[in-house]
Amino acid sequence: MRWITFFCILFCISLFQSTLMNWINIGIAVPDFYFPLVVFYSFFIDVKRNVITSWFTGISKDFFSEGVLGINSIFFVAVGFFIWSIRGMLFRGHLLTKILVTFVFSIVYNIFYALHTAITYRSLNISSTIWMIFICSLYTAAVAPFLFFIFDKLQPTRNLYFMEK
């Protein structure tokens, strides 16, 4: 695994997510480009590197977001670890697996994040939050194959499979 490639991908995602989101959002549906990166590395690398990549992804999301530092890094490490632990049961090469895993875990992550926000600020509306979680996760899952394709080109998974063994 090339760390420089990982940090370049992360840098590009941070730039895109923090500046060009208004170009591709559909109403309140905003895709989370960080999340497929966590799923991608959880699928293809060993647990130690997975924890580190998830943590860096989470902390860079925290840097470009309002609120306390560290919350996204904790959630991403947890999600990354969980996906890593069940990946043996999944057929990781299939497109549908990538979409479904991204969708399901994005929902889980967003629910936890919404709970954290609701507990801290007590200002989220339940119905609109559930709807937002659903459509944002759906949008994230929809763009996941495209992002996986790019990540795969930049960080060939064949090498990662090899490293896994």
Partner: protein, 276 residues
């Protein structure tokens, strides 16, 4: 008998050690005071800001290009300008109407308050938006001015005479603006027509909600919400939004009121920071 010394490299190569280490760092960061964590955040993203600014400028230029092409067909440009002007004038009317109400109240009830109590004349600094929040549950923008330009934490940010938010973290050259739709935002407000005091609260959706609106308050769709000077945090009479929906549930003491912000943040490119 030989005893093996614990090797730091071996220890670091263990996944559990790495996981514990990163989670400990995250937890330490999580429990830092907001001021410190904002300071770290602003310092760490400094090298990225020029790239962010460049990307934003490029996207703005591209957006402008597409907009011009479209305007050739539909004469959209003139229409948008006129709409902006109308929105600005409408907000001005609301502001003047509010001043009028306040002056009337003062004349009738308290004769000794002859002079209007206003804050000292504020200095206005224009700023460009260079970034948005990356989280779907938080609402903030990054602007290209900071402490170097005189911006301080909690300065008010407006555009077209309407409230946008306030400075949550001021860096040296950039600042983070917490929008009125952010879940952490609480703004003391007033309903222009009924004069009811309210708290305008964000909830991570494109709308805000009003808190503590008594069930007997007669709100109508289209009523304007403005800032009040309660708490002396915000300047008074800035339009915040318009009531779009009010609902009373069962025996609840307060109404559920939905407010559409006066500013559509996705359509603005620059803001004004009011420096007191």
């Amino acid at each position: 008998m030989r005893t093996s010394k614990p090797n730091i490299n071996e220890l670091l190569s263990h996944p559990l050690t790495i996981a514990t280490l990163v989670l400990t760092i995250s937890l330490i960061l999580l429990f830092l005071p907001l001021k410190v964590s904002n300071g770290i955040k602003m310092a760490c993203v400094v090298p990225v800001r020029p790239f962010q600014w460049a990307t934003f400028v490029c996207s703005k230029t591209a957006s402008g290009f597409f907009h011009r092409i479209a305007s050739v067909w539909k004469e959209n440009e003139t229409k948008t300008l006129l709409e902006n002007e109308i929105a600005e004038l409408k907000n001005k009317i609301i502001e003047l109407q509010d001043t009028n109400y306040r002056l009337q109240d003062k004349l009738i009830s308290v004769s000794e308050f002859k002079k209007e109590q206003k804050k000292p004349k504020a200095k206005i600094i224009p700023a460009d938006i260079i970034g948005y929040d990356t989280s779907i549950f938080r609402r903030s923008i990054t602007i290209n001015i900071g402490t170097k330009h005189g911006v301080k934490n909690n300065n008010i940010v407006v555009t077209d005479n309407a409230l946008v938010g306030l400075i949550a973290a001021a860096g040296r050259r950039t600042s983070l603006v917490q929008l009125i739709t952010d879940p952490a935002s609480r703004i003391p407000g007033r309903i222009l027509q009924t004069r009811d005091q309210v708290i305008v609260e964000g909830n991570a959706s494109p709308f805000c909600q009003l808190k503590y609106v008594p069930r007997w308050a007669e709100l109508k769709k289209g009523d304007n919400v403005i800032t009040s000077n309660i708490g002396s945090f915000y300047l008074s009479s800035f339009p915040v939004g318009t009531v779009v929906e009010s609902e009373i549930k069962g025996g609840a003491l307060f109404q559920n009121v939905k407010v559409l912000p006066a500013v559509n943040i996705t359509k603005i490119e620059n803001v004004l920071v009011i420096k007191e």
